[in-house]
């Protein structure tokens, strides 16, 4: 690939010719991810009940399938006496529907923030390690190797449980665990870009090495990291939920999907399915949507 085409591929999304192939699956994924983002921002204006209000009758099942059309009609026309518990209530008396819709505020914030922080740490390190090859940067890579050989889930548990089980700590823990991925991706891309003609041309024009690295090499080396970020966001949602599930993550009564599944886990054996099934469907589809978007970006980038 020549320098011109590779440079244009970094801004390829702006070019009408280079659009992503739109499949129904990708359309679903984009719509779903956008929906989750909108919920993360505005859920409190949309949900019928306060997600941390536990004053309802506990263990109420969701309405029967046959009753849904009339209840929906009642809600839409405003004739219903009070909002319906669409997904029932859990054993503490929370409205499951409101909690499922409010959870993106926590789950997506953690995923987006930790991914952004990981890139903020990883990309500069990768740039330096790839552009300036010396004993110091080699040592940096060995440290990154050691960090990457940590078992991810157990390390996340250690960082969060011992650091204090707050949302901020989950973000920091995940960003530390994901940063080495971006170091690696950026470094190998920088090493490939470094040998290209544009670098030599800039050098001939008398630009400083730091300037070349920042202005020319860095923008052309971010592609793989941006592709990776969609996948990492999905994994961060899974990891956040998993941590809460074993009791080493966000604390109750926060509306968080993993926490809700964990509360519902004890009900499932009794056949009380709705407390954990609905938040599970939400995670399942959200992470799938990010995986589909990530795969589409990857195919686009590698073409």
């Amino acid at each position: 690939m020549s320098d011109i085409t590779s440079a244009s591929s970094a801004i390829g999304n702006l070019q009408p010719k280079a659009r992503l192939a739109i499949s129904p699956l990708l359309t679903f994924a984009v719509v779903f991810a956008l929906g989750a983002l909108i919920l993360a921002a505005f859920s409190e204006y949309i949900v019928p009940y306060d997600p941390v209000d536990s004053s309802f009758i506990p263990n109420m099942p969701p309405p029967a399938l046959g009753d849904i059309p009339s209840l929906l009609w009642g809600t839409l026309t405003g004739t219903a006496a009070e909002p319906i518990h669409w997904f029932g209530t859990d054993s503490s008396g929370f409205d499951v529907f409101s909690r499922v819709l409010c959870a993106p505020r926590i789950d997506l914030s953690i995923a987006l923030a930790s991914n952004f922080l990981a890139m903020l740490i990883g990309i500069p390190f990768g740039l330096v390690a790839g552009y300036f090859r010396n004993p110091l940067t080699e040592l940096m890579m060995r440290v990154s190797d050691v960090l990457q050989s940590f078992p991810v889930f157990i390390s996340a548990m250690i960082l969060v449980a011992l650091g204090g089980q707050s949302i901020a700590n989950v973000i920091v823990a995940l960003s530390l665990l994901y940063a080495p991925i971006y170091v690696r991706l950026t470094r190998s891309e920088v090493m490939a870009q470094k040998s290209k003609g544009m670098v030599e041309a800039s050098r001939a024009l008398g630009q400083s090495e730091l300037m070349i690295a920042m202005k020319h090499v860095l923008p052309n080396s971010m592609g793989p990291s941006l592709v990776q970020s969609s996948v990492t966001i999905g994994f961060a949602i899974l990891l956040t939920a998993g941590l809460s599930f074993v009791g080493a993550g966000v604390r109750p009564p926060n509306p968080e999907w993993g926490l809700m599944i964990s509360t519902g886990a004890n009900d499932i054996v009794l056949g009380q399915w709705w407390t954990s099934v609905f938040p599970g469907i939400a995670i399942s589809l959200t992470v799938f949507a990010f995986a589909v978007i990530g795969d589409a970006l990857e195919q686009r980038y590698n073409r």
């Binding site: 050691v146 050989s149 078992p151 889930f153 157990i154 960082l159 994994f235 954990s276 995670i283």
Partner: protein, 341 residues
């Protein structure tokens, strides 16, 4: 050649383990957790607190603690194969890991064998019918399976197969509590049952492992099928397959050649996933209360039990590094085009 390669890798691995040991040791001590008050409670008197601190060895300087942990101070340590004593149970960490690790290895090994048995034929079928229904379905499943909350699927399987259909046992461990478990020889439940000749127990253990394995296979086969499909497509497009076709070899033989080249990367992925899942099986173990090393890790982390935490991280990482080395050696055996350097 290969001996030099192995020795070099082992040396690097040993250095990596040393780095890891130091990293974990200082990490748990740097984080703002107070294991002493977790042990004696927040309302303990200052005397009781100080005494607990002394008995855990946390009153000594950190460097002394490190030297003792490594086995360079008084008493045996890491260099003598001693991982210390659990603060929670007072049992040796080595024995606790020895009791829980086999369960995880058992779950993972059966799960990966089933995954491979499904993934390779499906991946090959998908690669041989590009663009057809099988291929599209496999593509979607590959993305779906690899991005799922396995603990939720585990619960869903419990709901369906235990609570509704009643064909699976309650998610409460490896064996029916009313059965006498086979005497411990290897620590692996299924192996011990075979050694004891107790086939009733063996069947019951597999009955209990049925849903955990199903859950693991459900999430693992996504990425593995994807890899099998990609490697098969790549192998079919390579020069030696083109040559084999041009030379007029029978189709079945060409497929066999390309499968051989496609299996190597698939096995590598499985090995890497095996290493990842040693610590990542936590969630499935928790859903079914299997009592593997993952659940031991949860218990230790929540109790701020430093010696156990350190031991678990070291053992899991050491096993994954050994698996990666074994993979690199195996790779050349499966794919003769690979040369060590």
């Amino acid at each position: 050649m290969i001996r030099k390669f192995i020795l070099k890798r082992l040396a690097i691995g040993a250095l990596q383990m040393l780095g890891l040991t130091l990293a974990v040791f200082f990490l748990v001590r740097m984080l703002p957790a107070d294991p002493v008050s977790r042990l004696v409670g927040l309302n303990a008197s200052p005397e009781a607190y100080a005494q607990a601190q002394r008995s855990l060895g946390l009153d000594k300087p950190v460097v002394t603690q490190l030297l003792e942990y490594l086995g360079l101070g008084s008493g045996p340590g890491l260099l003598q194969g001693n991982l210390g004593t659990s603060w929670l149970t007072n049992a040796s960490v080595v024995s606790e890991i020895g009791a829980s690790l086999p369960t995880t290895l058992e779950l993972l090994t059966y799960s990966f064998v089933v995954t491979l048995l499904i993934a390779i034929p499906v991946g090959v079928a998908s690669a041989s019918n590009p663009g057809k229904f099988v291929d599209k379905a496999v593509f979607v499943y590959g993305l779906f399976g690899g991005s799922q909350p396995e603990f939720w699927w585990g619960l869903l399987f419990v709901l369906i197969f235990f609570a509704q259909l009643n064909v699976a046992p309650a998610p409460l461990g490896m064996i029916d509590p009313l059965l006498i478990p086979p005497p411990r020889v290897t620590g692996f439940y299924t192996l011990d049952a075979v050694i004891a000749g107790d086939f009733r127990a063996l069947i019951d253990i597999f009955h209990h492992l049925m849903l955990p394995i199903l859950t693991m296979v459900f999430v693992l086969s996504g990425p593995v099928i994807k890899m099998a499909r990609q490697s098969m497509i790549r192998a079919q497009a390579s020069d030696f397959i083109l040559y084999a076709n041009a030379a007029g070899l029978r189709q079945s033989q060409v497929t066999r050649y390309s499968m051989r080249a496609a299996i190597a990367p698939t096995i590598t992925l499985v090995g890497i996933l095996y290493g990842v899942m040693l610590g990542g099986a936590v969630l499935v173990e928790s859903v079914y209360s299997l009592g593997g090393i993952g659940q031991y890790a949860v218990r230790s982390v929540l109790a701020f039990d430093y010696p156990s935490i350190q031991g678990i991280v070291l053992v899991i990482t050491a096993i994954s590094l050994l698996i990666y080395l074994a993979l690199d050696i195996l790779y050349a055996v499966i794919d003769p085009r690979v040369v060590y350097s």
